[in-house]
Symmetry: C2
Subunit: 206 residues, 2 copies
């Protein structure tokens, strides 16, 4: 598998397959098929077989996929067979929700530090986290070789914080601010803007 | 423009163009080009021209796009030249963040009701909202002809709440729970699962 040869859109579907396989395993299932997986996800079985074939050979013709085995392989491919440390920047309402979210740890990610720029927030607690001064962030990230950041700051602060994260060596940013950020080649970014999703759907609502 | 003929993936980029045009207008810009828009978004200018051409003719060769005019047209195309009422189901940490988020109203959406299933939460306040009993939800939605819902409930409750929303006549669901839901043809759904985005990026992190 040459990672750079695999279309980005295919890579983007693998986490979805992994999530559904994990759910199937939790239901006690042992074997599945591309048909069953496709039906549960609303994706064609041909698409699923084609996507998986980019990464290797995971099942035998006619016998289906062993769910635990396939999930393990996908975790390895996505590099979430380990636990990544993540910094969270922004301790507003959304930052609180992200910091308290219990769904990261089982899927490869652990928030280790929470930062804010607002002096009145620094030192306060979110769950088990103490909100830290963003001024210490670059040093902390470099010292701890953290590669991933989540950005829950206002749109107006997002670019300046991103510049700091990039300077610190962050390789992947999940941005909750509704903006398009400038980042150097090689750094990955993904955006979560609920309004983009809502506006996509209203196009179709009669 | 025949809406069903336009590829879904193209429709999905229009809200992004609209967001960037709105940002440009706020910066005081009057005219832009597909080159400038593309550079700001990290999308090729050819792609932008091709996408926009699916919906009509918005600029003259060589003179660029009038930003305010194009933004207005895109708002009309996406049907966000009006204000959609939205119900929010789930008043946990994430529900609080969504209910308090100030970024919906300017972009076509207004949360009008917040529901939860937990008796200890019903009657409590989130900002100006009073959390209401999910038992009243189907009636309320039908009476008020609400078409859009946001789902911020635990994964284990997401399907049962979705079934209620569909029964009530909801046409579009934005789901924050990390699950794939069964919905009838014709109802639109979009998902926000930050872990899928993080796992997409770790594939590429050295």
């Amino acid at each position: 598998m040459v990672r750079s040869n695999i279309p980005n859109i295919v890579v983007g579907r693998i986490p979805l397959y992994l999530r559904e396989l994990t759910e199937m395993a939790a239901e006690g299932k042992v074997i599945t098929s591309s048909q069953e997986l496709g039906q549960r996800l609303g994706i064609s079985s041909a698409q699923i077989r084609k996507d998986l074939s980019q990464f290797g050979e995971f099942g035998k013709q006619g016998t289906g996929y062993n769910i635990t085995f396939l999930a393990e392989q996908l975790r390895r491919i996505l590099k979430v067979d380990r636990l990544w440390s993540v910094v969270l920047v922004g301790a507003g309402d959304l930052g609180h929700a992200v910091a308290n979210y219990g769904g990261f740890i089982d899927r490869g990610f652990r928030i280790t530090r929470v930062y804010d720029i607002d002096p009145s927030k620094i030192g306060q607690k979110i769950g088990t986290f103490t909100i830290q001064d963003v001024a210490a962030m670059v040093d902390d990230i470099q010292k701890e070789r953290i590669k991933i950041a989540m950005l829950a700051v206002p749109a107006s602060d997002a670019q300046s914080v991103t510049d700091m994260l990039v300077e610190a060596g962050i390789q992947a940013i999940l941005c909750y601010a509704p903006v398009s950020l400038k980042i150097p080649d090689g750094v990955k970014i993904q955006y979560i803007d609920p309004v983009l999703r809502l506006q996509h759907m209203t196009f179709y609502v009669p």
